[in-house]
């Protein structure tokens, strides 16, 4: 056992397994929020116009949703167990405080699964109205599921709803725990991310088909629906990012300092673009500095004081380089997505029809390039919020190292689950390609 443990310390293995499980599940969770919205819009257009292409779209997207939802459901189950398998110390402390959003999520997920069954298998068994209603319930409960889970994560960043007495949580108030400081900004940011990510990824996939010369109504209408969901969300996302950043600036100065690679407390702090944080020398090299921009962004005041990492004991610093780079990636991708969305909507509005977008090959090529960006930005964003909270599992309250299971040899389950998920991911991609290749060419 000792040789295995030497290969990877248990805490690192547990964190890696959790990160890998979350990073895998988040893709399916996000699609579970975005794709039902696309299906419902398509089906609703079908009931309004009677155009069979919309029905075809709704059915084809729903097959994708069936595969992705199933993998999301089982990988979500893994996460709910892993809370106890990997972090029993966290659950012992926090279970009674943050169980509330998980209970609510349980119901939302239940409702989602029930009505997804009706939606997928009930085309011939329930009325048209009931079928569309089932789709709407799936879309709404998908959003609610995501919101509840993110509220639990927000609590880990800004714990509330209990008092600490002699190292124990007393006077627990579960509903107050839900109303924590980061809950609003985090849930808003994640919900928009889910719509922007799914919408622009689907738009990109259909843009590729259009570029390859398949100009069927199927792909044209699909592009329109996907853009109408994804583009507005992508344009709003920078605003919600601003809300998030200001919340982090107030409640988690160490995280803000890390994601900005901001070592010294100062007034009129500059914003770093790029650069490599040198933790030993406590400076950020090779970055483009925009004077006073960080103070402006974080506090809406160019002269505001922004706390640096120097206000935080060295052993409470998150891994600065990872957080800073992940943050840069997220912001860069989000900015590109917002700009391309403005371009696409402008073309669409000017041309009065989706064909104006379809006929602009440069725009289509750009949309094709944007395809993976939403999901990459989401992974980067979760890296920022999770790694940026380290070394705490509950900010300022419980260290990750004190929450981990005493079981040794954790590198083994980490490798097994990684292998399992790599395999699953490959199969899902293969199956979705099958669905896509069989798309109609008319």
């Amino acid at each position: 056992m000792s040789e295995i443990t030497a290969a990877m310390p248990d805490l690192l293995a547990a964190r890696s397994q959790m990160a890998m499980s979350l990073g895998f599940h988040i893709v399916f969770a996000v699609v579970g929020i975005g794709l039902p919205a696309l299906m419902v819009i398509a089906e609703w257009r079908w009931t309004r116009t009677g155009d069979a292409v919309y029905l075809d779209l709704a059915k084809r997207w729903s097959k994708g949703a069936a595969i992705l939802f199933a993998v999301g459901a089982v990988s979500g189950t893994v996460l709910s167990f892993e809370l106890g398998l990997l972090w029993p110390g966290f659950m012992r402390f926090a279970g009674s405080i943050i169980g509330m959003p998980f209970s609510l999520e349980g119901f939302a997920f239940f409702t989602e699964a029930i009505f997804l069954g009706i939606y997928l298998y009930g085309w011939d068994r329930v009325s048209r109205g009931a079928h569309l209603f089932a789709g709407i319930v799936v879309a709404v409960s998908g959003v609610l599921s995501g919101i509840f889970v993110v509220i639990a994560n927000a609590w880990m960043n800004t714990p509330a709803g209990f008092d600490m007495v002699a190292g124990k949580a007393v006077n627990v108030r579960p509903f107050m725990a839900m109303a924590n400081a980061a809950a609003f900004s985090e849930t808003l940011h994640m919900t928009l991310a889910a719509y922007a990510g799914t919408g622009l990824t689907v738009a990109g996939i259909h843009a590729v088909a259009l570029l390859r010369g398949n100009r069927s109504a199927f792909h044209r209408l699909a592009l329109g629906i996907a853009l109408s969901l994804g583009a507005p969300a992508a344009i709003l996302q920078p605003l919600s990012g601003d809300v998030s950043a200001r919340s982090v600036a107030v409640h988690q100065p160490a995280k803000l300092a890390a994601l900005e690679a901001h070592f010294e407390t100062q007034r009129g702090a500059p914003f770093h673009i790029g650069g490599w944080p040198d933790v030993d020398e406590r400076e950020t090299r090779w970055a483009i500095r925009i004077p006073r921009a960080l103070s402006l962004l974080a506090f809406h005041d160019p002269n505001a004081e922004v706390k640096g990492l120097d206000t935080v004991p060295r052993d409470e610093w998150p891994p600065v380089a990872i957080v800073h780079i992940a943050f840069q990636i997220m912001v860069a991708l989000g900015t590109i997505m917002a700009l391309v969305s403005v371009w696409a909507l402008w073309r669409w509005w000017r041309g009065r029809a989706i064909d104006a977008v379809v006929d602009d090959r440069r725009l289509l090529r750009t949309l094709a390039l944007v395809t993976p960006m939403g999901f990459l930005a989401i992974e980067a964003g979760w890296t920022v919020t999770e790694v940026g909270r380290q070394p705490w599992v509950i900010h300022g309250v419980l260290r990750t190292a004190d929450a981990v299971t005493p079981m040794p040899g954790l590198v083994v389950p980490f490798l097994i689950f990684t292998l399992l998920y790599v395999l699953l991911g490959a199969i899902v991609v293969y199956l979705l390609r099958q669905q896509f290749i069989r798309a109609p060419t008319r």
Binding site: K63, A66, I67, F69, A70, V71, A73, V74, S75, G76, T77, V78, S80, F81, L83, G84, L85, P88, M91, R92, A94, G95, S96, I97, G99, M100, F102, S103, L104, G106, F107, F109, F110, T111, A113, I114, F115, G117, I118, Y121, G122, R125, V170, V172, R173, P174, F175, T405, P406, M407, P408, G409, P413, I416, F417, L420, I427, L431, Q434, R438
Partner: protein, 345 residues
């Protein structure tokens, strides 16, 4: 009986577990019959299983999430102990859950060659067998008191790896409980499937015979588990006179009733009796173990979250049930209503 809030919460967890066993458990049993499909109607057997569980397995699966969430909200130390000592079997169970669910949809939505679909079918079937077996072993480990003992060793820092993380869940008794779980759920699934197969007498007979075989196996394994576990405190209370014994006797009546009604081709009655049997086995265990959540000595009350958490969680459960119960009823009416009423005699 004066119940504390914590004990009410514990009963709710058990009701949810009961629902998971009756609905989700039968879906795993269906997978076992996919694995054991044989004879001239092998393909029809597999198609019937897929048809029966397709629309409902994901909703049925969520009962497990409800159980897990209720456990960690209302009984955090117990959840932490299960996660610690049963890390290995619970991980195996999760792998089974992941493979079962994904392989099932992969098979349903694949356009690939037949060999590829067959491979996913096999994965679905094998993982349907492993998952309930391991879950049964975990229950056996809790019942036997070994989980509680191992957790004490962890807390006092005297834990050896095998003694803490392996031996508590591997013993003749836990293996017997695991095998009994598989047999019972297979029996339950086969009994449900006799009703799904109402339109095809030969196929119906296939599942009737399978149900009878599984019933005999489950009865035998139940007796073996009772004998092997006789020296554990919980199992001893099943045998000694008391509420638990009464429930155990009731489960024996239900078992015989279900077998006889299968023989008489009274499939609706068989389904009710089968559900009752499985339910009474579960409640027999729970009553024998009450008021302990982890034998030998951790009680439900000692492991409970603060009362405010329990009260607010129950308020949410009550509110959620208002949405959930009509929705579940609607789902089952859409997919199970018609077929379950036609040709049951």
């Amino acid at each position: 009986m004066n119940l504390t809030l914590a004990e009410v919460a514990a009963w709710i967890v058990i009701v949810a577990l009961n629902a998971y066993v009756l609905f989700g458990g039968a879906d795993f049993g269906g997978g076992v019959w996919d694995l054991l499909a044989s004879g001239p109607r092998r393909q029809q057997q597999r198609d019937l299983v897929a048809h029966a569980i397709g629309p409902i397995w994901e909703a049925n699966h969520v009962w497990l999430i409800v159980v897990v969430v209720m456990l960690f909200v209302c009984f955090p130390p117990a959840f932490a102990a299960f996660g610690t000592v049963l890390h290995i079997p619970l991980s195996l169970m999760l792998i089974g859950i992941v493979l079962r669910g994904s392989a099932f949809v992969f098979r349903s939505y694949s356009y690939g060659p037949r060999s590829e679909q067959r491979r996913w079918g096999q994965t679905f079937a094998v993982s349907s067998l492993i998952t309930p077996a391991v879950l049964g072993m975990c229950v056996g480990a809790v019942v036997s008191g070994h989980v509680g003992a191992a957790m004490k060793a962890v807390d006092s820092g005297t834990a050896g790896f095998a003694a803490t993380y392996v031996l508590p869940w591997i013993s003749p008794f836990t293996i017997a409980v695991g095998a009994m779980a598989v047999a019972l759920l297979s029996f339950l699934a086969a009994t449900y499937l006799t009703i799904e197969a109402a339109a095809d007498r030969a196929l119906q007979d296939d599942f009737r015979n399978r149900a009878l075989g599984a019933a005999v196996a489950a009865m035998a394994l139940a007796i073996i588990a009772l004998v092997l576990g006789a020296e554990t405190g919980v199992m001893a209370r099943l045998i000694r006179p008391g509420w638990a014994t009464l429930v155990l006797a009731g489960s024996a009546v239900a078992a015989v009733t279900s077998a006889v009604s299968l023989l008489q081709r009274r499939f609706q009655l068989a389904r009710v009796a089968a559900g009752a049997w499985v339910t009474l086995v579960l409640w027999g265990w729970v009553l024998a173990q009450f008021p302990l959540i982890i034998p030998p000595d951790l009680t439900i009350n000692a492991a409970a979250a603060p009362n405010r958490t329990l009260a607010e969680t129950m308020a949410v459960l009550a509110g959620g049930a208002v949405v959930l119960i009509p929705s579940l009823w609607y789902l089952l009416r859409v997919f199970k209503g018609r077929s379950s009423l036609v040709g049951s005699r």
